[in-house]
Every structure is written in structure tokens, then in C-alpha cells.
Amino acid sequence: MPSLWIDGKTYEVEAGKNLLQVCLSLGLDLPYFCWHPALGSVGACRQCAVKQYRDENDSVGRLVMACMTPVTDGMRITLQDEGSVEFRAMLIEALMTNHPHDCPVCDEGGECHLQDMTVMTGHNYRDFRFKKRTFNNQYLGPFINHEMNRCITCYRCVRFYRDYADGPDLNAFASKNHVYFGRDCDGALESEFSGNLVEVCPTGVFTDKTLKEHYTRKWDLTTAPSVCHHCGLGCNTLAGERYGSIRRIINRYNGAVNGYFLCDRGRFGYDFVNAGTRIREPLASSGETKTQVPVSVEKIQQLVSEMNAGKDKILGIGSPRASLEANYALMKLAGPEHFLDGMAPKESSLVRLALSILRNGPARSVSLQEAGQADAVFILGEDVTHTAPMLALSLRQAARQVCVQKAAKANIPEWHDAAVRELAQEERSPFYIAATGATRLDDVATKKMCVPLDGIARLGLAVAHAIDPSAPAVDGLADSDKQLAGEIAAALMNARHPLVVSGTSSGCSSVLKAAAQITIALARTREKVGISLIVPECNSLGIAMLANGTLENLDERIKSRRYETLVVLENDLYRRLPSAQVDALLESVKRVIVIDHTTSPTSQKAHLVLPAGTFAEADGTLVNNEGRAQRFFQIFAPEGEIQESWRWIRDICPESRGNRKTAWQDLSDVIEALCQDVPALAKIQEAAPTSDFRIKGLRVARQPHRYSGRTAMVAHKTIHEPKPPEDPDSPFSFSMEGYRGIPPAPLIPRFWSPGWNSVQSLNKFQQEVGGELTGGDPGVRLIDPDGSDSPGYFEDVPAVSTCSGDQVQLIPLWRIFGSEEFSVLSEAVQQKIPGMSVIMNPKDAEKANLKTGSMAVIESGDMKLQLPVSLCESQAAGTVAIPAGYRGAAWIDLPALGESGRGMKNERNPLVPDPDCSGSGWHSDCGSQSDLA
């Protein structure tokens, strides 16, 4: 360990770092702009200058840029001498010569890194008396506001957007003090990670446009740690509330999961919490028309006592988007054998297959951070950017691992970002994709294969066989495929950290098995093998670990058991099963109770609807695709009758099913019971401290120390300051009162530190800058392969695709904006939803007499749908990609075999939007359920 002399003190520091990293990790305040822990050093801004002395006799020294200077043993530096202090102050003065100083009207004000650094350098009087240059701003789409005059030219935006996220359409233009960061023309930013510009920009050039709609300063936001509910990765977030509405989502650093970044769906998809589609009070259907009307608590109790009944009469349908606690409560209510996982049957079997691969297979399910360290990647059947966006961002880093390794050989440290990029240029790690069509990672792929699903599986199995000849061979492979399989096998075997990525989104178990097969084969030749299996929803893996029952053969189950009451937890069955089946199901029982936060076609048919909290109004635990259990905490106490699903279930629990005296009082009771009942989930207790956790006798304050207006904000209702709501479920208070130091990592409600008001204050919460949070990153892994004995190979090798005649394979097409249930309720996200169309290979289209834009009729069994056609050379011949998960579109069981043909222009199909406005306008009413058959 090098020892470093800084202003009279000697420190032992980690080798291989630069001076800035080291100083910040030591807790010293050294200002910086262009450096970012995830983006490394480029030496552009010159803000982190310190003085370095040659030896103890040198009293003159010379200025060096801390971010560009590797630490060496015996190094002597000062942060405090007059020369470097003056230089840093002059520097900030220089880069502010054109800054508008519009902090009072700037969205960044109060959490601005530029403000913090300015104060830190002590520059407070402006000498520049000349005219400032000004810029025009651009329209950058629904997510990001652009205000270029504020720019201090640190280049972080393009370094994140282009270099880190491979986004093509944001660039640095012009030169001298006219450098302009924007697009070549107005238009929505194309990258799915554009929202990170908000946090990467040190000042107010790129700000959150959705926040602007209901702007609130950081200091006025009530915040708590949350976990994103919009896909299966479980990125950590911080949600901020004021006046009962969620105002924004920002990143909550978790070194093992999402690091410094979020995807745009996770960041901008929050508005469903505030939407008019919320269920805010209990509703019951009444009268002939079965209109749902608000209902009193007494009436609920009456309904519930009617529900009464003995055993076997309640069927509980859980949900992969509800917390473990809510699901568990329902499981207790209905009994384990009458509790179903609430996933579509095919999805359920795939998630369970994924779970068994993670549990029994030899490969470690990698975290997002580990995925970024992989140096050879093979993706089977997933368009990762659309199904698990932040994993795609990690995989983009994996694609550059070869550059980092090459640089290391040339003695260039990883943090020396510009030098690493110059040395390695366009070189990319071995990166292979087998998919049915184009994917958003194609640009980093070494090779890409577009084949039907069975072809993906066959290639995967061939790779496994090429790695280990004792794995089943694949017959009838073309020579070119054999060669490709050999190439992929060699790349994975030669890598230090090989990673196989697949998931459930293709709907094909053979693909998953093939991915598993590769890891089994690899594990026979080496120790470390990584696998990442993408699951569809935020708690898919959790519900699979909790529930045994599935929606498979639901009709028969209902008939045979004579259920009288159906309790549906946070689930829209119309997204899981064919409409006709759900209709029949809901008719077949006497009573349907739906507990959910947002109106759905299912809730609209319920006899009783109970208003549940969203992620913002409830606490709970989710298990992500890695098998990591993570706790999310309530942000605010909602008005009215919204409460956590588990509380509703507790409240409606008939006497016969539990002793009311010992009924659960708070979340900890539920968790405790859950952990006792379900050993596989016992470790979720460790995901976060329990509700009775206190620091120095204090709760952790959800409101920051500068929270304003707490007496004024309700003054129109009462002149007395109301008592803040109590929170029995978590160690947080709903007020400013509480502990303000650094709490345990799972309880960090915001990043803020004296002198560091921006998100960069995160530095103070990490053990080492860019590393783990103090006390370890949140979350507890529930699944780890024991590695004791290698499981056997899957033996069934699918035959070559047997589509005959006009038959095609119908493949689900998932879209980051459009396919997820709730983010599409955000107005900003709605603007990004692509129009619905089916994607076909031009040759197939020609056969079916279809061109771009013409209407195709797709038929499969009972299903018939009509959509305009988009042609794509990458779409595998014999496959047609069909938009999946779109709100308002009919549920289709995909993949399936079907036929495609030419539709009539005027033939209207009630299942699909009007073709004439399918280009852009159809989604404008996608919040409504009315067009659902």
C-alpha cells in the first residue's frame, strides 16, 4: 500500500488509484467536474489541481491534476497551499464566465454540483465584466430539458451518453468557448439511458422534464429508498414526494446492482402513482349495471363476513409485481394450496425453469455490476435493452472489458478513460447474440445470428457440445452454424469471466435450457461461470419461490374446488390469460375481490375493489432476477383509504383463518412469519433493518433538514401543525425529525452531506469512492449454486423448425416503452411508445404479398389480429414479431405457430388500434381500458 503525505498527514492508500479518488475516499474535499467515478478521468476541467512536491526539500512544488496523477509511494501533495487554492478558485471563475448565474430559476439549484464546488473553492466575487455568450436550446424529447447557457463544458454528458452508453445522437459540436452539447437537430434523445444526463451533468443543462411539470426543490422532497418496479432487475431508486404526489425518481447507488445509473423507464415511469387511473377508495359493484361505487368500511366488513366460509372456498391469485409480504399475506389467507402465482402459465413455467437453473445449475447468477465485468458474452433470445434495460448498459461495459484488459497490459489504469479508449479504439470483447430479430445490442456484437427460437436453442446446445463433447450433440447443423458454435465456445472458454445471458421473454423453454446447458458445459472446464436470466417482472423470481400453484388449468381447478371467493392481488388477469377465459373465471365465482393500486379490466369486474399502495405508499421486499432480495420503503403516507395490500388482507381475514389477537401489527410481523414459513426466503430478514431499528434512539428522517413549509402547507385546512403520520413498518419517520448521519446502506433516504448538496455527495456514503456503500451494498442474495455436484445435461434437443407452408413462428416483441404495465401511464413515457406493428422479414412479407405499412392478418388458433407491417432484414425468416404487453391490446399466448396474410385496409379489428393512426397517435389513449375486448 503506498503511503501518501497530504498537508502534513500520512495516509496509507490503495495502489493503482489516482489522487482524486484517493483524496475523496479519504473524505477530503477536493472539487472536480469532468471526473466521474463510473466514467473515469480525462483531465479536461483542471478543477482538481493540487500541488505536488518532489520530496521533503521541495517547497515550490508544481500543480498536477489529481484525477490524472496515479498515486505512488512516498508522494507528497498539498491541497491547501496558496498556489493551488488560488488556481482552483480562478478556474471556477473562468468556467463560470458564461454561466448565467440563474440559480433561483434553475431546476438544479440546491442540488447543483457547480454551486457546491463554487462554494468549496471560495470563489464568490465575479471579475468578468464582459458580455456572455449565449446558445439556443434544443427540444430533446419528453424526458430531458436542455438549457445550454448553463454549460460549463465538462464533457461528462457526451462521455456518459456516447462513451459509456453508446448513444449515437448526442455530441459535442463546435470548439473554443462555443462548444455545444446537443443533437445535430431538435429531436428526442434516442438512448434508453438519456435520463442519467440529469445526474451526470454537474449543473442545470440537462434536467428532468417530468419534474418540471410539478417542480419541487430537493430540500422540499420527502424521500425514502425504493426499488424500481418496472422490470426484473430491481434497480435501487430514490423517489421524492410532495403534496401527496411523486415528483421524481433518481438513482440510489447500489454498487452491486445499478451503480450510478438508471434506465429511462425506471426514471420516468413513476407517474402512474399520481395518475387518475389510481384506485383511491374501496369500491363495490352494485345494482344491475354493476357500477362500482365507493363503499364504507362497514360495508366491506359486511361483505367480508358474507365471504365467511370454511376452508377451500377462497382462491388467492398473487402477483409477480406485488411484494413478497403482500403475496405471503394472501397465501396465508387462502392457504398455500389455494394460492396461485398469478403469472401467465407459460411465463410461470419459464420463471420456474429459470429459478431451478439458478438454484441447481453450476453458474453464479451475476449482479449487474458483475455483468459489466464479463469479458465474453453470449445472449440467447433476449433483446436485453427492452426486457432488462440496465443489464444492457452493463453488457455494453462488458463489451469494453477487452479494452480494459489490453490497457492493463500497457500499464494504463482503468480510470485513465481517454487513454484506454485511444489504445483499444473500436476493439470489443467477444460478444455473440442469437435472437429472432434485430436487438438494441447488435452494435456491440462480434457476431449476430437471427434464427427462429428452435434455431437459437440448437445453436446454444451446439455451443455447449463444442465446449464439452459429452454434452448432447446437435444433429443436422449447417457447417456455418457449427463453425459459429465453435467460435462462441472458444470465446467463452478463453474468457476470464464468461457470461451467458438469456431469459423468459422469448417464451421458449428450449432457449433457456440451451443457455443453462452452456453454463453446465463451461463449469466442467473451469470454476467461474456467470449466468444472467432475465425475468419479466419486479418480483417474478420471488413469487416463484413463494407460490407453488399456477394459473395452469385454472378452469378445472375452479370447477373441482367450487371456490366461492376469488381474491386477486395486484394483478390484471387480462394480461395473463385469454380474455374469454378470464371473463368466464370472474363469472364462475360468487365474489371477486381485487386489491390493487390502479384500475384494470380485472378490477373493473370485481365485486369489491380495495385500494392498495403503490411502491410509494407501501413497504415490501422484492427478489430480482439475480435472486437478490431488496426492501423498498414507503415514501409517503397517502390520504384516504389506500393501504398496503397485506394490511387489507389482514383486515379481511375471516376469524376462522387466524387469531385476530395475534394478527400482524406491522411489516416486521409479516416478514417474521414469512421467514418461518418459507425457509427459502428466510434471508429476506437481512435485506434491511427491521421497523424497530433506531440510531441513537432516532428514526431516520424522510424529510431533509431544510424541508420547508411544513406548517404552511396545510394552513388552508388547519392552522395547527398536524402530527406527522406514524410509521409502524419501517425505521423511518415521516418528518424532518430523526437521524441525519449516514444510516445503514439499505436505509439511505437521500444523498446529502455538508457542503455536498448534489447527488455527488454519494462520495461520502461509500467506503471508497466508486465502491461499496459504507456497511455493504443493500440486498441479500437468496440463491447461490452450491457447486457440490454438477447437474446433468438437458437431453432433449429441439428439431429444426418445422414451419410448413405459410406457417410462421409468432414471437413476442417487447418494448422498453410500451410493454410494461405501469410506466406507460406516464405521459412522458407515452410519447416514446412506438406505434404497434408486426415485424417481418422482407422475404416472408413478399410471399404473403405484404409491404411496409400494409395490413397483415395474423392468425393462430382462435386468435386473429390485424396490424401494419414493418419490414426488417434482421427478422429471422419464418418468424413474425408481435408487440407484447401493450396496454389495451389483447393478450396473446406467445410464442405460437400461426399464419400471416394480407388484410383488408378497411377491415377494422376491435382488438387493435385503428391502422390509420398506428404510426404515432394510437397510444394517446392507451391509459384507457375501453378498447379492450
Binding site: 500543480l63 468557448n177 481517454a418
Partner: protein, 427 residues
């Protein structure tokens, strides 16, 4: 023996030598000698090092030493690149133009010898956008050299391959900075790169690369043919060879001449440039181009070599002097230069991007008579702020040199602007 190796073939009144004429005048002997006699390329590196050839682009770094940093041997990265920096864009500097237009084959020959010495297989000439005549002549010469087998596959049957490409710059001063040049050549923004790693290790497309100035390269084959002793004998100082010295400004005969390294400033100014125009007196001069510190009359008898001029507080730079006379406003001159440098900043690092425009605004205010007394201190502080080590590359420190030295030598003139609230040189 020849005493003006660089310009011996140059006669601006006619087209430059064709390859036949060039060969007849002893041309391409360097290539023959290098490829056939120096079977170990490293011996060329040593020879050039011993000859004392220093880079003529301004920094004056030992050329042979630079080459010796290129990783060689069977495991070394390939391909290696040689890049000729022909982006001559500094105000007052026009020496490479003479060579490019006057004797293109000499540059090509120097490049072949250099490429062989570092075993580069691809070479580029990065040419200033405005040098269209040079472009025509170089294109023709390169085609001739390919035709004659001096470029391409297995040159002179030795198995040594070299492709030479002529790249026309899009036209930015910063492209003269060797790493910005490499970025530009790669199609990227012409921002300089950080060093280390140096281009010799990670240069063009991440591969080992040597970047040399036109004039430097034109020396190489002469050293190979005539030897170290001859080369050193050309010089009057410890740096070997001859140098192209230029003079611009209000002198009788502005121009550029090949003279022994180490002639005095006075010789260049009086014997070759003919002295000041009638009625004008020398007020000061920038010895090595626009980005060097002013020197004044007392320095006229200094030798124009890297060490002597450095000791006097300036730099020999490109060896092309700009003369300031007593009828020209020094503030106006410095303002003019600073405007150029501010305009040409790539915008990467703060002191240059924001410090130079601020300096321009201060100089403008002073020149217009709107300056404030504290502006001189501010200007001096700006120069320190943009000083060496504080910036990413040498552009801003170079730009600060005329400003800081004018504040030293012509402070009274600045003060007159402040006191009279106008430019005293304007009627």
C-alpha cells in the same frame, strides 16, 4: 559537400524536381542506403540520435531519442505508423511550405527512411488545408514514388513495405498539436490527447506512431547519406544541421532561408531580411513564431538555437521570427495574436477555452481605451493561469507567452492606453 541540404533543389521560379531530376541530383540515395546498408533499423535511430537532429516543429526534442521509444521486436504491436505533421498554421510560420512546394520528393525520401527506421508500414502526410499547391505537388510526387517502386510493396526488393497517404486537414491550428492531429486523422474531434501514453506507444488507431514535422523529416536522408560529422559540421552550435529561419513583419525583405543552426538573430534580420524598413525601428520580436515570448533589441546578438533562446526567456519554436516595429501598437499586435489563439482553442480544458477569450476581452478593452488599471494585473494573472502544466496541451501556455512578455517589455505602452483612454498609435 553540400551546405544547404534542405533547399539545394529548390528554385521557386520553376516546378519542383520530378523524380528523374530529383534522382539525378542525388535523390533517393538515402532510401537505397537505408534499406540496403542499414539491415538493423535501430542503427538508423542511433545515427539520427548522434547527429543531434532535433524536432523542427517547435518543441526541439531529440528526434532519434523519440524514435527509440517505439516498441520494436516480434511482440510489438503492429501496424506502426509514421505521420508527417504538415499542418503549418501558426501565424508567421511558413517554412514547411517552402519544402512542401519546393522539393516534395525530399520529404517523401525522408519519410521512407524514417518509416524504415521505426519499421512503420503506413505513413500519412497531414497537410494544412490551405496548402493547395503543396497538395498538387505532393500528390504528383507520391504517385511518381509509387511508380518508381520507392513506395508500396517490397521497396527496392527488400521486403520492406510502405504505403504513404496524403491527408488534407479540415483546417484547425490545434491539428498541429501531434495528438490532436492523430484524433483528427482518426476522424474524431481534434482535441489533444493526454500524455502518457505517448504516441510512440499508443498513437494513431492506438498503435505505435511517430509524428514529425516536415522540416525534421527532410533532414533524415541527408544524415544517412552524408553522415553525422558532416551534419554536425553544418551547425554553429551543439544542435546539428541547418535550419530554415524566417522573418515576417515590416522588414525590407521578409522571407525564409536555410542557414546554419545557431546563426545570430542579427545576421538573420540584417543580412538576410535586409533590416527594418526605412523609418522604422525595431521594437521587439517573437523569435520562434506567434506562440513565443517577445525578445528585444538587446537580444539581437544571441544565437538562434534552442538553448540560447531558451535561456533568454523565450523559445526558438519554429525559427520564424515576427518583427514588431515602433509604429505598430504592441497591444494591438498581441490582441491580434490572442484572438487567433482563442479562436483556435479546441475547447477541451478550462484555462484555454475560457481563459483565452477573457484575455481577448481584456486586451480589446485596453486597446479601445476602455481598460481599467486592474486589468493589467488580471491579464498577468490570466497568463499564469494558462501557464505550463495548468492546461491540457501547449496551446494556451504558448498563447500566453506573447501576452506575458509584452507586459514585461512594453508595460509603458499598456499604461499609456489606460491613461490616455485610447490607442496612442491611432490617429
Amino acid at each position: 559537400m553540400i551546405d544547404r541540404p534542405l533547399t539545394k533543389n529548390i528554385d521557386l521560379s520553376r516546378e519542383p524536381f520530378s523524380i528523374k531530376e530529383y534522382e539525378a541530383a542525388g535523390g533517393y540515395q538515402g532510401v537505397h542506403k537505408a534499406l540496403k546498408e542499414f539491415t538493423d533499423p535501430k542503427s538508423i535511430v542511433d545515427l539520427v540520435k548522434n547527429a543531434g537532429l532535433k524536432g523542427r516543429g517547435g518543441a526541439g526534442f531529440s528526434t532519434g531519442l523519440k524514435w527509440s521509444f517505439v516498441p520494436m521486436g516480434p511482440d510489438a504491436p503492429r501496424p506502426r505508423y509514421l505521420v508527417c505533421n504538415g499542418d503549418e498554421m501558426e501565424p508567421g510560420t511558413f517554412k514547411d511550405r517552402l519544402l512542401l512546394e519546393g522539393d516534395p520528393h525530399s520529404l517523401i525520401e525522408g519519410m521512407i527512411c524514417t518509416a524504415y527506421a521505426i519499421q512503420a508500414e503506413v505513413a500519412y502526410i497531414f497537410l494544412r488545408w490551405g496548402y493547395t499547391l503543396a497538395e498538387q505537388r505532393l500528390s504528383k510526387a507520391i504517385a511518381e514514388a509509387y511508380q518508381a517502386g520507392y513506395l508500396g510493396k517490397s521497396i527496392l526488393g527488400t521486403g520492406f513495405n510502405l504505403d504513404l497517404h496524403l491527408h488534407i486537414s479540415a483546417g484547425r491550428y490545434i491539428c498541429g498539436e501531434e495528438t490532436a492531429l492523430l484524433n483528427s486523422l482518426e476522424g474524431k474531434r481534434a482535441n489533444p490527447r493526454t500524455k502518457p501514453p505517448f504516441p510512440q506507444v499508443s498513437g494513431l488507431f492506438g498503435k505505435p506512431t511517430i509524428v514529425q514535422n516536415v522540416e525534421t523529416l527532410c533532414n533524415v536522408h541527408h544524415i544517412l547519406v552524408h553522415g553525422v560529422d558532416w551534419y554536425k559540421g553544418l551547425s554553429r552550435c551543439e544542435d546539428g544541421g541547418t535550419k530554415l529561419y524566417g522573418v515576417s513583419g515590416k522588414v525590407k525583405k521578409p522571407g525564409v532561408w536555410e542557414l546554419p543552426m545557431g546563426v545570430t538573430v542579427r545576421e538573420i534580420l540584417e543580412d538576410h531580411a535586409g533590416g527594418m524598413r526605412d523609418g522604422l525601428k525595431l521594437k521587439g520580436f517573437l523569435p520562434g513564431g506567434a506562440s513565443t515570448d517577445f525578445l528585444v533589441e538587446e537580444h539581437l546578438d544571441l544565437k538562434m538555437d534552442y538553448a540560447t533562446i531558451g535561456k533568454a526567456g523565450s523559445r526558438m519554436g519554429t525559427g520564424t521570427m515576427i518583427i514588431l516595429d515602433d509604429q505598430t501598437c504592441p497591444v494591438g499586435m498581441v490582441l491580434n495574436l490572442t484572438r487567433f489563439f482563442a479562436q483556435e482553442s479546441c475547447g477541451w480544458c478550462t484555462p484555454c477555452r475560457d481563459g483565452l477569450p477573457w484575455s481577448v476581452k481584456l486586451l480589446e478593452a485596453i486597446e479601445k481605451g476602455e481598460g481599467k488599471p486592474e486589468d493589467l494585473d488580471r491579464l498577468a494573472a490570466q497568463c499564469r493561469f494558462m501557464g505550463p502544466g495548468n492546461t491540457f496541451c501547449a496551446l494556451a501556455p504558448g498563447a500566453a507567452e506573447p501576452i506575458q512578455s509584452s507586459l514585461k517589455y512594453f508595460k509603458e505602452d499598456f499604461e499609456r492606453h489606460l491613461a490616455e483612454k485610447r490607442c496612442p498609435w491611432r490617429s
